[in-house]
């Protein structure tokens, strides 16, 4: 029956011949573990294709739901964490393995005649892989993906003559948005994978055409090994190790959670993903008119160096010891890329950003990223003039001048202008602090919080301090109703957008330090005195009141969300401190509030990004994987010994 079917198919489609052509490959000197990187890269492509398609069952490419849909997959679909994790970590491993494969081919001289076409197609594949790793992260619509795409499309914008067009084309408009996501989506899931697949087939055909290069040492080239089954066995064995490592990566470090994309990314440092860090770091060398040389020239030169390698290195020798120039050149390139990557990783981007903003002509990518805050309805002058009393207005104006001359704005932001070291003072009039409290804070901040890093301004005259406090007490970001009419303790419902967004606790830590620590203490542990309130102190966030805490992260977040959104007025006759309404007054964006909530949950031992329906607990799944593969490896090892013994005895 089966033979009949086989013959029938074979007569119409020579599958057997195709398979034999693919597998029947002589390897000079025999199969080796050094040759596995190509197959391992292919395994990564297959894993990425499978997990990519499966993710499409849950993912939607829209800016309002992309992040939620991915978080639903990661936290609520059984084994969704594995599905997404395998895609994320395979993508990282793909880049590493492709790099190792390239290095192996380079050292073995496998790009030389007659294998030039294999190399050329290979370099094209490298560019496609880079394009995939550029378009992929944006689809998550998280901070990491958003900002790396923002920087990347800005780089495209610096191309001479056609830059503005390119930037528009990739963004689908002037700014990042839904059109950008749609475009990146089509590139990432349709065009690039199709090209990648076609390229891989061409790469394999070219490879089969020219054959394997084998070892450079003529003594070791004796005898022919076979691709099937000798090399394929090694490929699969190594693949099984890679799978175990990838599962371990999915379980222990997990793919990062960076919070939903927030165009007001003030707490975020726009940095590209790790594989582009070397370019990002190299760009810092090129300044002013030379910037284009870095943003466009450098990548093109790098690609050309690789692409044209078989054309300018025509020396037929393959032994690396006899190709000192090629080896040293290759080593320098690798060292350069590794050094720049490490420097880029540890680079202090705020210093770079500050420098770039100092010179508005330099359109450096990090600076061009929209750090400009959204326009506010009321300008500085308007709001200071708002109080009818002219004398008070004059005093406030003097205070504003002092605020500038004393460089308060180096640390404090008002209406989006100023540093992020200290709390944002845009809403200070509604923060509920008295002039006396503010004066004491200016004189010596340690009277309120012993851990405050704010310098004590003892040199100011009492009049100057009054001018400053008067100014601060005029700061109200929008025409908001008087704070006294606020609900007593954030009891508006339902919880807002932030409560269902999964925030990044690391960003939350930064925001908490900037916005919340002056009243709640740096880790939320302190109970800062709050005279005039019933409790007499600001409630601690860590540990938080038991009636707010819940083991369910969604419930916990929803409970604290109301306080952050609507603020709260402590009960008591005249509380000196009141919780500002960060959400209602828009002094924090919803993604930022989500980040703060994630950090407060973390301080209280609850993971905002807890996997709710894992299918199987990730550590257990890892254990199962290790045990399964350990058993398989031991069986294979025993069989291998047995077969070697029988072959040895038959040979005798």
């Amino acid at each position: 029956m089966w033979t009949g079917v086989k013959t029938w198919i074979e007569a119409r489609l020579p599958l057997g011949a195709i398979i034999r052509w693919v597998l029947e490959e002589d390897i000079p000197g025999g199969a080796r573990f050094a040759y596995v990187f190509g197959s391992a890269s292919l395994l990564m492509f297959l894993l990425l294709a499978v997990t990519g398609v499966l993710q499409l069952f849950y993912y939607v490419p829209t800016t309002d739901h992309a992040y939620d849909s991915l978080m639903y997959l990661r936290l609520q679909v059984p084994f969704g964490w594995l599905l997404h994790g395998m895609h994320y970590w395979s993508a990282q491993a793909f880049l590493v393995l492709v790099g190792l494969h390239l290095a192996r081919v380079f050292i073995w001289g496998a790009y030389k005649n007659p294998r030039q076409m294999t190399w050329l197609v290979g370099v094209a594949l490298l560019v496609l892989v880079a394009a995939m790793s550029f378009t992929g992260p944006l689809l998550a619509w998280d901070q990491l993906g958003y900002w790396s795409a923002e920087v990347g499309t800005s780089i495209a914008g610096t191309v001479p003559w056609i830059g503005a067009f390119l930037q528009r084309f990739f963004r689908g408009g002037e700014t990042m948005g839904q059109e950008t996501m749609s475009r990146f989506f089509v590139f990432h899931v349709a065009l690039l994978p199709a090209l990648l697949l076609a390229g891989i087939l061409l790469h394999l055909i070219a490879f089969r055409q020219a054959g394997s290069v084998g070892p450079w040492n003529p003594l070791r080239r004796e005898g022919m090994g076979k691709f099937w089954p000798d090399q394929v066995y090694r490929d699969i064995l190594v693949s099984s190790f890679i799978v175990v490592v990838l599962v371990g990566l999915c379980v222990f470090p997990r793919a990062p959670i960076t919070g939903v994309a927030d165009p007001v990314g003030l707490a975020i440092t726009p940095k590209p993903v790790w594989n582009f860090l070397f370019l990002y770091q190299a760009l810092k060398v090129f300044k002013g008119p030379w910037e284009t040389a870095g943003t466009v020239g450098l990548p093109i030169v790098l690609i050309l160096i690789l692409l044209l390698l078989p054309l300018y290195d025509r020396n037929a020798r393959v032994n690396p010891r006899k190709r000192p120039i090629a080896m040293i050149g290759g080593l320098l390139l690798v060292l350069g890329v590794v050094t720049l990557t490490i420097l880029g990783y540890y680079a202090n981007p705020s210093a770079y950003g500050a420098k770039a903003t100092a010179d508005p002509d330099v359109n450096a990518p990090a600076a061009s990223a929209p750090r400009d805050p959204p326009p506010r309805p009321a300008g500085d002058a308007n709001r200071a003039a708002a109080p009818a009393d002219n004398a008070a207005a004059n005093k406030a104006a003097a205070g504003r001048a002092l605020f500038r001359s004393q460089h308060c704005d180096a640390c404090h932001k008002i209406d989006g202008q100023g540093g992020a070291v200290g709390p944002d003072l845009s809403n200070e009039a509604d923060a509920g602090r008295s002039a006396a409290w503010l004066a004491a804070q200016i004189r010596d901040a340690k009277t309120h919080n012993p851990q405050s890093i704010m310098p004590a301004y003892t040199a100011l005259s009492p009049e100057q301090v009054t001018e400053l406090t008067d100014y601060l007490l005029t700061l109200r970001s929008e025409a908001t109703k008087p704070a006294a009419q606020e609900p007593p303790s954030g009891q508006r419902e339902p919880a807002r957008e932030a409560a269902r967004l999964i925030g990044d606790w690391r960003e939350g830590r930064t925001l908490l330090a900037a916005y919340c620590s002056s009243c709640h203490g740096p880790e939320g542990t302190d109970k800062i005195p709050n005279p005039g309130s019933e409790r007499g102190a600001v409630p601690a966030l860590n540990p938080i009141a038991a009636n707010l805490r819940d083991r369910d992260p969604a419930v916990f977040a929803a409970r604290i969300d109301r306080f952050i959104q609507d603020g709260s007025v402590p009960s008591g006759p005249h509380p000196a401190l009141r919780m500002p309404a960060y959400g209602n007054k828009k002094s924090l964006t919803q993604p930022q509030i989500a980040a703060v909530e994630a950090y407060i949950l973390r301080l209280n031992g609850v993971d905002r990004a807890q996997i709710l329906h894992p299918g199987m607990a990730p550590p257990q799944f890892f254990l199962l994987t290790v045990i399964a593969f350990a058993v398989v490896w031991v069986v294979v090892l025993i069989l291998s010994h047995a077969s070697k013994r029988t072959s040895a005895s038959t040979r005798k």
Binding site: Q76, P78, L82, P229, V232, Y233, S240, K644
Partner: protein
Amino acid sequence: MDNAAVPYGPRTPPSRRGFLRLAMGILSACIGLILGIPFVAALVAPTYRRSAAPFARVGAVGPLPQESPVSREFQFEATDAFIREAVTHQVWIVKHSDTELTVFSPICTHLGCHYNWDPSVQQFICPCHNSRFTLTGKVISGPAPRPLDTLPHKIEQGVLFVKWERFRTGIPEKIRI
């Protein structure tokens, strides 16, 4: 297939060849199962998930007419995968007293059409296949396989709360979806 046709070189003796085949089979199967089972589970398992609706506020019981069906709409926040939004549902309510009433799902037990109350004949009539039900939900005539489905409800301080549920249609048993 004889040995000459097998594409193995002289360096791979037959016993070794057999081992390699077996080893490759075991390794590939292990990779396939360890990843394949969870991946299939990720597609299949969520399809068995039951959506739990809360008890949603319908309205005050007092003004409802006695022993005469009324249609009422109510809303609640529902989560459909990753989309959370307010959904509206409709029910038929028959009040017996201020503390006792019956809440019918508006979906015919036959094939899922929405039925209506005909006051002239005092019957619930489904327009699709002419199934007819009494005030208590019993089948009078037509293809409906079981009485009208009732929904869980509670009355708190004179206010009716209903929990929205759906049931399989076309079978004699009332089974929740």
